[in-house]
Amino acid sequence: MVVPSRTARALAQALACLLVLAAFAIAAPGARADEAPSPDTALARLLDEARAGIPGACAAPDADRLVRVLCAGSIRVGVRADYPLFAAGAVRSGYEIDLARAIADRLGVGAELATVKSSNRIALLAEDRIDVAIATMGHTTLRDGQARFVRPHYYRSETVLVGPRELAVTSWADVAGRTVCVTIGNGSNAELSSHGARLMLFESPEQLLDRLRADACSLIAQDDSFFAASFADPAFASLYDRKLGFAPVPWGMAVAQAGGERLARALALTSQIFHRDGVFLDIARANHIATGFFEEQQAIWHRPECDTATGSANPSCVLPPLASDLGPTRVADRVAAAEAWLSQRTGITLSLPMLKTMPAWRMFRTGLINSLVLVAGAIASTLAFALAFGAALGARERFLRLAVRLLTVALQSSPIVLTLVIAAALANAIASYSSPVALAASILALGLTNGSYAGQAISEATLTLRAEAASDPAGGRDLFLRAVRRSATQIMAFVINATKGTPIASFIGAPELLSALTDISSFSSERATTYWILLIFYTAVVILVVWLCTALRSFLERRGVPT
């Protein structure tokens, strides 16, 4: 028998340690897999669990959405019908259509496609009329509270401004004061508005293209994905180009908040697999969509820390939603409660977005104040220009009379919209565009137009008084003052006209109430109550001005001043 030496024993112990370590090393991956299985395993397990209860669970009133999809044998997918390359055409085709079908296949059910719009896709989820929305929906922090978004995202877009090639727009400074045509509810509208753009609202992206081609809109804003098909057309690309890109936003599938947890989980795992295996990439290629995002995502989902069942919860693997929280006002809850109370008691749907979020409230308050400033300014400038035109047109100097007469004819021959644009162009040539400049230009234009008419009335009264003075030697005294009194009715009519015209100032970017409420509507998607408030406000202001004019006239008559 050979007794092992100390060295040999030490070697044997070291070898044993190595073998144990090797055994641990071999066993370790298996242990990791037990803790976080692959997304494929997790998805199979989730579907097996859901199917296990079928058909018994199908009749349960509290069955979750995944069980109901499996019971029905089909998934109801909300898709767009008007989004070229993504979801369009009488025979539905596009990236999102193919995606919906691929997901249904993976879940082992059929795909039942339902048309949704940007304005109703979240509501249809909440009303249980669709199971999932795959409908060009950007994932924002604001929408996170309205629907359950699936991550990883299946696409990422950014908003781009598109306009005629000859239009020089290269920075935000060039956008300020310009009209940009947008779709209601687009998350990037608030950013456009914050850069001084005037928003013109439309229902659908197709309307934007129509208006661009008809030259009714010089700039349109929409997701870059929407323009992909248009820029593929050489005729379109030769006329229009992309001016600016901003607000990148990931697109997510979304399911309902209530009962949608397991369906969202199944879709998240499916999306992980689709990114990793290049399914999204292949579908994008087949639909001629730019593949940069998909290639980037495929690399991410191949990474070991992402390619696990918990990868979709790993912040280093998924994209964050676009931060669009608007911050509630202090009375937001009470306003919401009042809206609900009114709806329950009377059936009237009242929505007051301008009182619920801080940016909307600030816009509303500023718009209200600016409107009142504008009305006061328009009245004052109308009166001032009326006196100036009246004095000049009734002057004895022929040259002065002729010059002012020509100006009056020009002002009266110009539609008020054009007069406002000319005033804004001249004002912007002197000072760079800003809200006060736009307000001042509007006050000037409204005063000039209405003052020219009122001034003409004063000058005509001056002429009649001069004729009367010829037969009455005392009649020539205080001629101008008496002419003003004689034409008081006309002056008041044009003061009222100026008040009625103040909302037109929004056309050149004056930040009055119409402009503010249009901006609020563009991101809140609420319009009915908003425009009722606008109509009531301006009608009330006009009625108030009429009443004040009448009261002033009565007061002067009582004081013995003939009008």
Binding site: M200, A216, S521, I543
Partner: protein, 223 residues
């Protein structure tokens, strides 16, 4: 001026004329609807009593409604697709502009119509006939007001001018183009008013001739 001509699109004139034709079409529609609504209001006004008071109240509100706000209200609150007596109607931007002018045209027709009816009762046919030139004047005011359509993407005359102006690099060229716009609309307006005056004079002559040839029952009454 040569610089401006160089920069203008070749089809600018054609598009401007087409745009102005749309201004006329909008004004015509607004006036037709204004007549349809305003004449009954005028009849109610002169009939007095409760109907007269109700008519006056309605006209007060119609007069106070700002056209521009009404246009945005119609566009954003009224459904785009609707049915009236079984007929499907679609609210386009052009229709919204025309309808937004209806409160003004209705109030104007109601006021002028009521005055004409009063003059007729007093036996002053020439004064009553002033209703026609007044309506014609309203038409030209409506043509000018229809330019508000530029704010909602309707391709009327002013929209064509503004889009062209955006593509002109120099302020001087833009102002020259605006002057062309004023000339186009101004010439239309002034020609319209001249025609209105001719019509008024003609109606006066006709009325006087009738009164001379065929003395009516009111001839002996005081005016």
């Amino acid at each position: 001026m040569m610089s401006l001509i160089d920069h203008l699109s070749p089809d600018f004139l054609g598009r401007l004329l087409a745009g102005m034709a749309l201004n006329f079409a909008i004004a015509g529609t607004a006036l037709a609807l204004g007549l349809a609504l305003g004449v009954p209001l005028a009849l109610a006004r002169v009939s007095g009593g409760l109907a007269g008071a109700a008519s006056a109240l309605v006209v007060t509100f119609l007069r106070a409604a700002p056209t521009f706000v009404v246009m945005f209200f119609l566009l954003n609150v009224v459904p785009r697709e609707m049915s009236l007596f079984g007929t499907a109607l679609s609210l386009s931007g052009t229709t919204a502009v025309a309808l937004s002018l209806v409160p003004y045209s209705t109030a104007y027709v109601a006021d002028s119509g009521a005055e004409a009816l009063r003059q007729l009762r007093l036996g002053s046919t020439p004064a009553a006939l002033l209703f026609l030139p007044n309506v014609a004047r309203a038409f030209f005011v409506l043509v000018m007001s229809s330019s508000a359509g530029a704010a909602i993407g309707v391709t009327e005359g002013i929209t064509v001018i503004l889009r062209q102006a955006e593509r002109l690099p120099a302020l001087g060229d833009r102002l020259a183009l605006f002057a062309v716009g004023i000339l186009c609309f101004g010439a239309t307006l002034q020609a319209g008013f001249a025609a209105v005056n001719l019509l008024r004079r003609h109606l006066n002559r006709v009325a006087l001739r009738r009164l001379t040839v065929q003395p009516g029952p009111y001839r002996t009454e005081s005016p």
